[in-house]
């Protein structure tokens, strides 16, 4: 089951990260926690995938990062969306909706 979950993740991880970051500046650990919470424990993002993805998104100018203090007074890297990131997110969401509708249609078809 664990294996299947990761499979689902691969193509959509970037979009999910963008969506989570869209709520406001957030650090890496919180992103993984938030994703797990919202998906009711369905997605457990391995750190080995999360951080390279964050770095990639930052590198492509979809995310921007800032070093700030957390509530506990520690230095952490907070990510937020850039304008390009916001654009990409809405584009991906439209795409995703279309695709999932299409997939649903096919699955629903009676033979």
């Amino acid at each position: 089951m664990e294996q299947e979950k990761t499979e689902v993740l691969k193509g959509t991880l970037d979009m999910l990260i963008l969506k989570v970051v869209a709520f406001g500046p957030i650090h890496g650990y919180a992103i993984s926690q938030r994703m797990q919470q919202i998906s009711r424990d369905f997605f457990q993002v391995p750190e080995g995938s999360l951080y390279p993805a964050l770095y990639r998104l930052e590198d492509r100018g979809l995310l921007q990062a800032k070093w700030e203090e957390t509530e506990t007074g520690r230095e952490a890297k907070f990510y937020s969306l850039t304008r390009a990131g916001r654009k990409r997110l809405s584009a991906e969401m439209v795409n995703w909706e279309r695709m999932s509708e299409a997939v649903a249609l096919i699955l629903r078809t009676v033979e």
Partner: protein, 887 residues
């Protein structure tokens, strides 16, 4: 933070990455502890969930672009170090590649400048010319084509077409200018007043023509090109606004065009008004189809659509005015201006580009081969790196970076080669087919092309060796001694096929060069049928007024000149003529009484004096030559050449036959409806250039007509060009208002008109083939030497077991020969298929000329043997004791 900044703040970046990941871990530990886990256990679980910290860090680094750059720089550094260690290899490889890249770049810049960017004119891609084609005619060599129009035709096209944005009419004429010392002749042109706005090039001084200039009663004006301004007037800007007497009328200079402008091919331009009686609109011929048209298509109109539109207009005209101007069935053909100017030369250039690509491929296989040899030696090094954790992709990248370093160095050196090579090319390039306004040189587009070639080269010559090097079990390389027989064997096949490919490519190049060489030799040694040695021609433009417009006046004028020229010391013989050989006279349809035939009979006509046949060295075959009396009393007699007699009077006596030349009926000052009696037959000579066989021709006394220009041909006892000044003096002594249009030795005429283009092709492809051959020589030598080095052990064993030196020599030579023979076989087969693309460039030799193929193969066997001989001798000199002890 931009990647550039991160590149320079690497320590900080690394620290931040570490901080971020540790923060994550600590948060997780804290959460675990908060849920009641033992701190030690929490830490263990957190780290476990995280996976390898270093691995995650590496993945993060790789997600960033600057790290790739850093890796690349590190690879480059490594590559440079390892190339510096093997300097001889690096230099040979760079040199070979630079030759290939340089030659390709030079050739490409010629093509780019000539074919893609030749004109400085506005929208020249949409500029077209058009011609009427007689559908009954074969259409080759310009037969049955008409690209000049009468004024009514031009006006009809201008008014009625639906396809042109603008159209310019133009015709050229001789312009005589008396500067006090004598009369000079320049090539001038009448151009409709929109002609200069059409091309969109501003003048460097003054103004261009405007519609005002062709209004009734407007003052006469003219414009001048840059070259004339410089050569005749030393670039003096004060001449603007001055009045000059040109063709006997005063004209004011209103504008001077810049250097890079050669519109309508003239030195001087007059504005052309097309209303009846306007300046420049009266012509001495009945069908004054003299206007050449240049038009610009509306956007989106195709050449074919334009042709259809013009076709309809011309057919309407033909219906309204039936007669000589329009053939029974004709069509209109459109061509772009570029095609019109560059024409067939494009195919020469493309053939050369193909040749230069072959050369580049040879260079690439050569370097590929060298890289392979190196990879074999480095097998051990590669294996070590692989076992230390370098991935296959990483190793391939490393090897590719190395070939890129070579290619980049070669690219720089190649651009230098191209720069100097281009100077050479420009010096020998024929000016005829290249637009005069074309500037050939290196420019950003060309340099970009060179860079692209360098990248391509990297891939071509680096990829195969790189893939080969990391193929198979990398660990195996460690256990091998690195120079063992096994390693050599594995790479042997690829290397051999590279050599075979090189030989084959080079054979194709050499065959092409050989064919061009044979063709050029045939061309320069063609039997002209006349003797061009020490023959001077002088084209004379008599004064433009009506001084010489009758047959009698013209005859007197030229006979006077002829007598004086004959008296010049060093002149053996001289004659009047209509044309200068090997270009013949005018063409005409002919009528022979009592003959019935379906097709129209035609012949060329030359007008000459009695000395013509001796001056050219033609032999009399039957009857007699033209006599002094024939010329003096303008008798209607003709001497014909052999092909004429054979074609029209095959089985009968040609002497005494009567011929009418139909063209005379249409010209003023010529005997209309006149029949000429054949009095003699002379040997043929080339009268349609060097390539075409002699055409039917008749020679008539020049005194029968006052129409047309005349040439004086003089046979000299000395260098013909040395007589030019004296001949000019004699002409001015007769009439200082007459001008010399053109005067040169016939040898120079041949060299310039007939030889330059094939010579250019020959020299260029010859140079490419020579470079290619040298590269192949290096290639064969290096592979054979390498094979021998690898087989030292094996040869040692053989010799220890009793093999003689002779056997070893034979073995190595045999191997070399096998490689070369395979290459030759493939190359010859490929050439047989490819040389037919050269057919258009060849004359007098077939594209599969056996002699050329034989010579190329022989040359190659010799070169191949030579290249294998040295390594073979080294092999034969191996001391078995030493060879075995080394292992």
């Amino acid at each position: 933070m931009s990647w550039l900044r991160r590149l320079f703040h690497k320590r900080l970046t690394e620290k931040r990455l570490d901080t971020e990941l540790r923060f994550h871990l600590e948060q997780r530990v804290r959460d675990f502890v908060a849920s009641g886990m033992d701190p030690e256990e929490a830490r263990r679980r957190a780290y476990l969930a995280f996976g390898g910290l270093e691995q995650v860090k590496q993945d993060c680094r790789e997600a960033r672009i600057e790290n790739h750059i850093q890796d690349f720089l590190r690879d480059l550094q490594y590559a440079l170090r390892s190339l510096a260690k093997d300097r001889r290899f690096a230099l040979i490889a760079i040199f070979a590649l630079a030759l290939g890249i340089g030659a390709t770049t030079a050739m490409f810049s010629v093509i780019y400048n000539v074919v893609f960017d030749p004109f400085p004119y506005r929208d020249f891609q949409r500029s077209i010319v058009f011609e009427m084609r007689d559908l009954a005619s074969t259409g080759d060599k310009g037969e049955g084509l008409r690209d000049h129009y009468t004024i009514p035709e031009f006006l009809a096209i201008r008014e009625q077409n639906h396809v042109f944005e603008d159209i310019v009419g133009n015709y050229q004429l001789d312009v005589l200018y008396a500067d006090g010392k004598g009369t000079r002749r320049f090539l001038g042109g009448y151009t409709t007043s929109n002609g200069f706005d059409f091309l969109g090039v501003p003048p460097i001084l003054g103004r261009v023509f405007s519609p005002q200039d062709v209004k009734q009663g407007a003052p006469l004006v003219f414009m001048m090109n840059y070259r004339l301004w410089q050569t005749e007037f030393n670039g003096d800007p004060k001449i603007l606004g001055k009045t000059f007497f040109l063709n006997g009328k005063p004209r004011t200079l209103v504008g001077i065009m810049p250097q890079r402008f050669n519109g309508y091919g003239s030195s001087l331009w007059f504005p052309l008004g097309l209303h009846p009686g306007a300046d420049g609109t009266s012509f001495p011929v009945r069908d004054p189809n003299v206007i050449w048209a240049l038009a610009r298509l509306k956007r989106g109109v195709s050449l074919q659509a334009a042709a259809n539109d013009l076709d309809a207009i011309m057919h309407r005209l033909a219906q309204a005015n039936p007669g000589g101007l329009y053939p029974q069935r004709f069509g209109v053909v459109t061509r772009t201006l570029l095609d019109f100017v560059v024409g067939d030369f494009k195919s020469t250039l493309y053939a050369l580009l193909a040749a230069v690509f072959l050369l580049l491929l040879i260079a690439c296989s050569n370097v590929g081969n060298l890289l392979l040899a190196r990879a074999t030696v480095r097998e051990r090094e590669i294996a070590v790196r692989a076992s230390l954790g370098a991935s296959r992709g990483r190793l391939i990248r490393q090897l590719l970076v190395e070939s890129f370093a070579l290619a980049a160095a070669a690219c720089v050196a190649g651009c230098l080669f191209a720069y100097f090579g281009l100077k050479g090319l420009v010096a020998i390039i024929p000016r005829g087919p290249i637009p005069e306004e074309t500037v050939i040189g290196l420019n950003p587009v060309v340099l970009l092309f060179a860079l692209a070639i360098a990248v391509l080269t990297t891939l071509i010559c680096g990829l195969a060796p790189a893939l080969h090097a990391v193929r198979g079990n990398l660990q195996l390389g460690m256990t091998n001694s690195g120079k063992g027989a096994g390693g050599g064997f594995r790479h042997g096949k690829l290397r051999a096929s590279l050599v075979i490919a090189e030989v084959a490519l080079s054979i194709v190049l050499l065959t092409g060069a050989g064919l061009l060489m044979r063709s050029f030799f045939t061309l320069t040694h063609v039997d002209l049928g006349f003797n061009p040695e020490r023959l001077l021609y002088t084209r004379i433009v008599p004064a433009v007024d009506d001084r010489y417009d009758t047959a009698v006046k013209k005859k007197l004028f030229f006979e006077q000149i002829l007598q004086r020229v004959k008296a010049v010391p060093g002149v053996i013989n001289a004659t009047v003529s209509l044309s200068m050989p090997p270009l013949g006279g005018a063409g005409s349809y002919i009528t022979v009484p009592g003959k019935t035939h379906t097709e129209r009979w035609e012949s060329m006509v030359d007008l000459c004096s009695e000395g013509y046949f001796q001056t050219l060295g033609l032999q009399l075959l039957r009857g007699r030559l033209l006599s002094e009396t024939d010329v003096d009393s303008a008798r209607h007699v003709a001497v014909v050449n052999q092909v004429f007699a054979r074609a029209y009077f095959a089985s009968e006596e040609p002497l005494g036959q009567k011929i009418k030349f139909d063209v005379f009926d249409e010209l003023p000052e010529t005997p209309h409806n006149a029949y000429f009696e054949v009095v003699g037959v002379v040997t043929d000579f080339r009268n349609r250039g060097l390539v075409e066989p002699p055409a039917r021709e008749a020679f008539l006394p020049h005194s029968i007509t006052g129409f047309g220009h005349r040439v004086i041909l003089a046979k000299a006892a000395v260098d013909a060009n040395a007589l030019r000044a004296s001949v000019q003096r004699e002409i001015w002594a007769v009439d200082s208002n007459a001008a010399v249009a053109d005067s040169r030795s016939v040898k120079d005429l041949l060299a310039e008109e007939a030889y330059t283009q094939p010579q250019f092709g020959l020299i260029t492809i010859g140079a490419f083939a020579g470079i290619g051959l040298a590269l192949v020589l290096i290639g064969i030598f290096s592979v054979m030497a390498y094979t021998v080095a690898l087989q030292t052990h094996e040869i040692g064993v053989r010799m220890a077991l009793g093999a003689q030196r002779g056997n070893v020599l034979k073995m190595v030579l045999g191997k070399g020969l096998r490689l070369i023979s395979a290459g030759i076989l493939i190359g010859v087969l490929a050439s047989l298929g490819l040389t037919r693309f050269l057919e258009g460039q060849l004359s007098g030799v077939s594209a599969t000329d056996p002699l050329t193929f034989f010579a190329v193969v022989t040359l190659f066997l010799a070169v191949g043997l030579l290249a294998s001989l040295l390594p073979a001798r080294r092999a034969a000199g191996i001391d078995p004791l030493l060879a075995l002890r080394y292992e």
